[in-house]
Amino acid sequence: MAVTIKDVENIAKLAKLEFTDEQKEKFLHQFNDILKYMEQLNSLDTSNVEPLSHVIELSNVFRADEVKPSTPTSEALKNAPEKNDKYFKVPKVIG
């Protein structure tokens, strides 16, 4: 199944990114190359292999329900391009 320009545009939209037609064309080829490689993997018979979600064989890594000190608000807001007092400020979402 090959990727179309429309798929590229949809993925760009989901990532909130904009591209020129040339860039889209470039991604189209790259995406399709990746898929072609995946096709190659598909030629393996994996019907008896359990799907793998993690490459390291670890499970049940937990922490106890204990409160640890948080980051001071001023520190947390330090990298924010815009703020209002104790809040992060972003372009109007709705309204």
């Binding site: 980051t71 400020k89 372009p91």
Partner: protein, 485 residues
């Protein structure tokens, strides 16, 4: 044919319950509600690059408990997934949730219908996830974001589309609410958003096997709103179909002030969340031993407690239902019963009556917790004991109860201080009755010629003279004796 007989509604609910843990699901920040904006945050919940989430074990414990209480199968292995979307209240750009392998599946909840019958509602799945932050749209010309709620643990309970009316949806939600409260895993406060409910609703002609197009209704932040919003949406869809219109699949918001649903401006136009396993969180393996231990820790659940109240205390079904609504209330009843001098069905019923009327009236009016209620179970039991022993009448007890509310004193102290002891001394009562009867010869002859309801008049007169302190049983006996020919 009336429209509600021609069509039937198909309803499924998604309930989000905020788990009562002290710290967040993947970091040690506090989950406390109402703190200063962006004060319960750290690199993990702020979504800084390179940080690693670590799962709070209590979240798993609590979700397993809910799974067991709703008869789910607990998955031996479950994993977390990333649900990707961009919204300012989600700093990482994805929500950590469970997708293909949730921790609980295939359970059910039994609800009671109006006719007294029971209906089984399927629970498709229960999974763990993190909450998003909060966007504030009215404090600035731009949108402000508070990340405190980001990473607060949630448990999402998804039902099968098994409900057929707004009332059934209400009953199901009530049962979920009651269960999380009994388990002590969520405070159940719908107004504060600790328990949130979204409904998927469609309608179809009765007898039809396929589902109609569904809509999703959100923003119903009370039990009453859930019932009203679903009712509204069912009728809206039926009306559209009757008018030959097509239902559009969309998300709607309930506007409680105007009693309507409004289309929501969508967060993301295409719902393409591109779920994939979160590589930062390793699988959760739940072995049989863990499940057995969780079963052992389960408290008695509402339905079990209700049938026990009926069996053990011989209470009517209605009383048992009211008294087991909340765990604290059920405990209040049982602790009061423990203080009784004489255990009998009649006395259990007396306590039930006092709690259902007087205690609940005060508790509901003041919205106070049972732990803070001024009349303790042992004091209430002591007061009922005074009634059983004949020291005070039921009527005087009302006065004692009101005083207990105010002063928190032991009922015996109140009875002594206010001189409320009931007079059971036959000769003293007889003396007063003789005096009264001599004043009403006409009434006596009317009574004797068949106007038996005048008995109430004589009892009333006696009580008036004796300031309500005469033992009503003794008064009745003496009057019966003296008035019979």
């Amino acid at each position: 044919m009336p429209l509600n007989e021609k069509y039937e509604a198909v309803i499924g609910l998604e309930v989000h319950a905020q788990l009562s843990t002290k710290s967040k699901i993947f970091c040690g920040c506090s989950t406390e509600f109402g703190n200063e904006a962006n004060s319960n945050v750290c690199p993990v919940c702020l979504g800084m690059p390179g940080v690693l989430p670590v799962l709070n074990k209590q979240v798993v414990e609590y979700t397993i408990r809910m799974g067991l209480a709703t008869h789910c199968t607990i998955a031996p292995k479950s994993i977390f997934a990333r649900k990707n979307y961009f919204y300012p209240d989600l700093p990482k750009g994805y929500q950590i949730s469970q997708y293909e392998e949730p921790i609980c599946r295939h359970g059910y909840v039994d609800i009671e219908l109006n006719d007294g019958s029971t209906k089984r509602i399927g629970v498709t799945r229960i999974h763990m996830e993190e909450d998003a932050g909060k966007s504030i749209h009215d404090m600035d010309t731009d949108t402000l974001v508070d990340v405190n709620r980001c990473g607060v643990p949630l448990m999402e309970i998804v039902s099968e589309p098994d409900m057929r009316s707004a009332h059934e949806a209400y009953q199901y939600l009530y049962s979920i609410w009651q269960t999380v409260k009994y388990l002590g895993i969520c405070d159940g406060n719908m107004e504060e958003g600790s328990l949130r409910c979204d409904a998927n609703i469609s309608v179809r002609l009765k007898g039809e096997m396929t589902f109609g197009t569904k809509t999703e209704v959100k923003n119903m932040n009370s039990f009453r709103n859930v019932e009203r919003a679903i009712e509204y949406e069912i009728n809206r869809q039926i009306q559209m179909l009757e008018d030959g219109e097509r239902i559009i699949q969309q998300t709607l918001l309930w506007d409680a002030a105007n009693n309507v649903v409004l289309p929501m401006r969508s967060k993301e136009e295409a719902h393409d969340y591109r779920y994939f396993p979160d590589p930062d969180l390793v699988p959760v393996i739940v072995e049989e031993k863990w499940i057995e231990e969780a079963k052992r820790l389960l408290p008695e659940l509402p339905a079990q407690r209700r049938s026990r109240f009926i069996d053990q205390f011989n209470l009517p079904k209605y009383d048992a239902g009211v008294l087991t609504q909340e765990r604290e209330l059920a405990e209040y009843f049982e602790n009061t019963v423990n203080g009784l001098v004489k255990k009998s069905s009649d006395n259990y019923k007396t306590i039930s009556n006092w709690i259902m009327t007087d205690v609940l009236r005060v508790v509901n009016e003041s919205k106070m917790a049972f732990a803070d209620f001024s009349v303790t179970p042992s004091h209430l039991a002591a007061m009922v004991n005074l009634i059983i022993e004949g020291t005070i009448s039921g009527k005087i007890a009302k006065e004692v109860f009101d005083e207990m509310l105010k002063t928190k004193e032991h009922p015996k102290v109140i009875v002594e201080r206010k001189g409320l002891t009931q007079i059971s001394d036959t000769s003293a009562i007889e003396k007063e009755i003789d005096a009264i009867l001599s004043k009403f010869p006409n009434e006596i002859s009317r009574y004797r010629s068949g106007e038996v309801k005048l008995m109430g008049f004589f009892v009333g007169e006696t009580m008036k003279v004796m300031k309500g302190k005469a033992n009503p049983k003794v008064v009745n006996e003496i009057l019966q004796k003296k008035l019979s020919v």
